[in-house]
């Protein structure tokens, strides 16, 4: 990453102290960071300099973050919403209208940076990126990315744990490709968590159980000595 140009983060928040603080945090983490105080300023900066990622506040004077996000979802750079509304329901609304991630204030600045890296990593994978999408379908199942829930072909909601959701998301974004345990660790688990290869196997077996349908072939196949392969063809 150091050889390339550092990723540019655009921070949009009406509170000056928060803008300054976040700019400092991101610069310390090796990003190039810009700040805008409202949506109009953000659009000006986007047009002038562009950005790889937007950190967007929800409640701002003028156009609020939700409406800006709805407008830009899937078209511009990925968006992480940083909001004073931290309820599950708020998070779901944010993700449903197309935010790539959602964090509630006050958050740990290092977690924000980690999430920003994860979103950028996903975004780079152009073919499978699910930026701006809230539901993916495969083999009769639906994966609700906002609610982190699996809906089976009989319309039964199957809640997923955080680990299972990240793993399934990684599979769905890269279908019909062999993924090694290391790749899955990298894609599905935050860099700072201490997980081992065996943890991937445990999560895969749990996920398989939830995806199991009587008489249907296994959706996640084991490729001996290499890793796992997601056999279904996802569509949006």
């Amino acid at each position: 990453m150091s050889l390339e140009e550092p990723p540019r983060v655009l921070i949009v928040d009406d509170d000056g102290d928060i803008c300054d603080g976040l700019v400092a945090v991101f610069e310390r983490a090796g990003f190039s960071a810009l700040a805008a105080r409202d949506v109009a300023a953000m659009e000006r900066l986007l047009a002038e300099k562009g950005a790889d990622l937007i950190i967007l506040d929800l409640m701002m004077p003028g156009e609020d973050g939700l409406s800006a996000c709805r407008r830009m979802a899937g078209k511009g750079p990925p968006i992480i919403m940083l909001s004073a509304l931290g309820d599950d329901a708020d998070r779901i609304v944010g993700l449903e209208i197309g935010a790539d991630d959602y964090l509630a204030k006050p958050c740990n600045p290092r977690e924000l940076v980690a999430r920003a890296r994860a979103v950028l990593r996903r975004g780079r994978d152009k073919e499978g990126g699910l930026s701006g999408v809230d539901t993916v379908r495969f083999a009769g199942f639906r994966l609700d990315l906002a609610r982190r829930e699996l809906i089976d072909p009989d319309n039964v909601v199957i809640p997923l744990s955080t680990g299972e959701f990240r793993l399934l998301r990684a599979f769905v974004e890269r279908p019909q490709r062999v993924l090694s345990r290391e790749q899955l660790l990298d894609l599905a688990f935050a860099n700072d968590s201490e997980v081992f290869d065996r943890a991937v196997d445990v999560q895969v077996s749990r996920l398989r159980k939830k995806l199991e349908r009587h008489g249907e072939p296994e959706l996640i196949r084991t490729v001996r000595g290499e890793g796992y392969l997601f056999a279904a063809k996802p569509s949006r």
């Binding site: 603080g21 319309n155 039964v156």
Partner: protein, 491 residues
């Protein structure tokens, strides 16, 4: 068409009832009328006089030879004392000599009582066309109506021998059931004929039970039955028409109680119900405005409280790591309090749709998340168990209980079992437990058993209100050690 029926449905309840009564009355009238017209009238209780004379003569002869009264269904016979009959009636005067002559005994030993029906008032029922034709043409030759007697003294009954040249009336294709009695025949009712037997006893013949009446009663019952069935149908229809809007109104009001965003109550049915529906809809609109207001206020409060916390958290990045972690921990506690207040005041779950969900997977996912964060937690449950509920609401409910168990009891055991018509989840911990006296009061808002542990005391009341909104409940049970909380949810 639809507008008109809608207008009709909008009448007040009193009008509906009046309409029902009118309809019922009209229907009853129509059915009675139809059946009366369709069915023959009650058979007249009259018998031809000439036939009675024949019958009595036959019975008298039979009694004389056998010694006991003949049995005849439609006539009642007895042998005994002289009948106490009025001697001076017209009928007695007219028939007594005829009867005496037929029996070949003196008039003194004969008595007759009867009421003569006016022949022109009655038609009488014939059983077949042939019979009718014979009746009309001439009396049976072997039994002329009044024997060899001279014509009776009473003029109207004088037999007028039918002109023999009169052609037989053509037989109508549909033979009428009724025919006027043949000329010269008198019709009698309530008769009693008596004649002394040679042994001095009297043979009395009186009108027996008229079995035809039974048929008539049956018909009357049929008329009543059909009317009743018809009226029941109308009543059922009207009752349905009135009850249906009341039911849908009740459902709509119930839905408003649970969720102010639900569809407005339909303004249908009787006028009173429409007024009630309008009132409920107005109330719902005010409620919605209130909720919107409250949501806005809470969002502002959340913003105003969390923005300074975020600033503080960012500022903490500049101090040394040990200090920073302490500050972060304090900020986390304040934030948890803010969250629980806002969550309690917001009442989001009411707005969440209900879905079929796998409760086993839901509990498993919560437990897995805690286990991955390094907490001591276990889960015991079977195969998938489907219930209908709000996925976020239920996640919040069980997260609250699991958080409590981990916070106060360090270790949490979650167990899911399926009981007859409900799912039961028991969460046990290894902490100090909940004293028996507090097992109900802990569900009150702001109640905290251990004030040394952070929290606002809003988790349990929120959890209980979610469980109850799902038709279930949460209770604390007695346990050997630690707390044991049991959640039941209907399947």
């Amino acid at each position: 068409m639809r507008a008109r029926s809608d207008k009709l449905a909008g009448l007040p309840i009193a009008a509906h009832l009046a309409l029902l009564v009118t309809l019922a009355f009209a229907a009853a009238f129509a059915v009675v009328l139809a059946l009366v017209i369709w069915l023959p009238p009650r058979p007249p209780d009259v018998v031809r006089g000439d036939m009675l004379l024949d019958a009595f003569a036959r019975g008298y002869a039979e009694t004389k030879t056998t010694g006991h009264a003949p049995g005849d269904g439609s006539l009642h016979w007895r042998i005994g004392s002289a009948p106490n009959l009025e001697e001076n009636s017209h009928i007695n005067h007219m028939l007594r000599p005829q009867l005496a002559a037929r029996l070949g005994i003196d008039e003194r030993f004969v008595r007759v009582a009867a009421q003569a029906a006016r022949a022109e008032m009655f038609v009488y029922r014939v059983r077949s066309v042939d019979h009718r034709v014979i009746d009309e043409r001439a009396p049976p030759p072997e039994h002329p109506p009044f024997g060899d007697m001279p014509p009776p003294r009473i003029a109207p009954f004088a037999p007028e021998p039918p002109p023999p040249e009169r052609p037989a009336p053509p037989i109508p294709p549909e033979p009428p059931l009724f025919a006027p009695p043949p000329a010269g025949v008198i019709l009698l009712s309530g008769f009693e004929f008596g004649a002394q037997l040679p042994d001095g006893r009297w043979l009395v013949m009186s009108q027996g039970r008229n079995w035809e009446v039974l048929g008539w009663i049956g018909r009357a019952a049929l008329v009543s039955g059909v009317t009743l069935a018809f009226l029941s149908l109308i009543a059922l229809f009207v009752a349905r028409r009135m009850a249906q809007p009341i039911q849908s109104f009740a459902r709509a009001v119930e839905a408003v109680g649970v969720d102010p965003q639900s569809a407005p109550a339909p303004e249908r049915g009787p006028r009173e119900l429409r007024a009630a529906a309008r009132a409920v809809n107005a109330m719902q609109a005010r409620l919605r405005a209130l909720v919107a207001d409250r949501t806005q206020t809470l969002a502002t409060v959340a913003h105003d409280m969390r923005t300074p916390l975020m600033r503080l958290r960012l500022a903490a990045e500049d101090v040394d790591p040990a200090q920073r972690d302490r500050i972060a921990k304090e900020i986390g506690e304040v934030e948890a309090l803010v969250s629980s207040f806002i969550a309690f005041a917001r009442d989001d779950p009411a707005q969440e749709p209900r879905v079929r969900l796998d409760l086993t997977a839901l509990l498993q996912s919560l437990v897995d998340d805690q286990a991955e964060a390094g907490r001591d937690i276990s889960f015991e449950g079977g195969e998938r168990l489907l219930i209908t509920g709000q996925s976020l609401g239920l996640k919040r409910l069980f997260s609250n209980l699991i958080d409590n168990a981990l916070k106060y009891g360090r270790v949490a055991h979650v167990r899911l079992v399926r009981e007859q018509d409900e799912a039961a989840v028991e969460i046990t911990d290894e902490g100090p437990g909940v004293p028996e006296a507090a097992r109900e009061t802990v569900f009150g808002p702001f109640v905290r058993l251990d004030s040394s542990v952070g929290g606002a005391g809003l988790g349990l009341p929120a959890a209980r209100s979610i469980a109850r909104a799902h038709g279930g409940d949460i209770v604390f049970l007695a346990a050997e050690k630690g707390a044991r909380v049991r959640v039941t949810l209907p399947l």
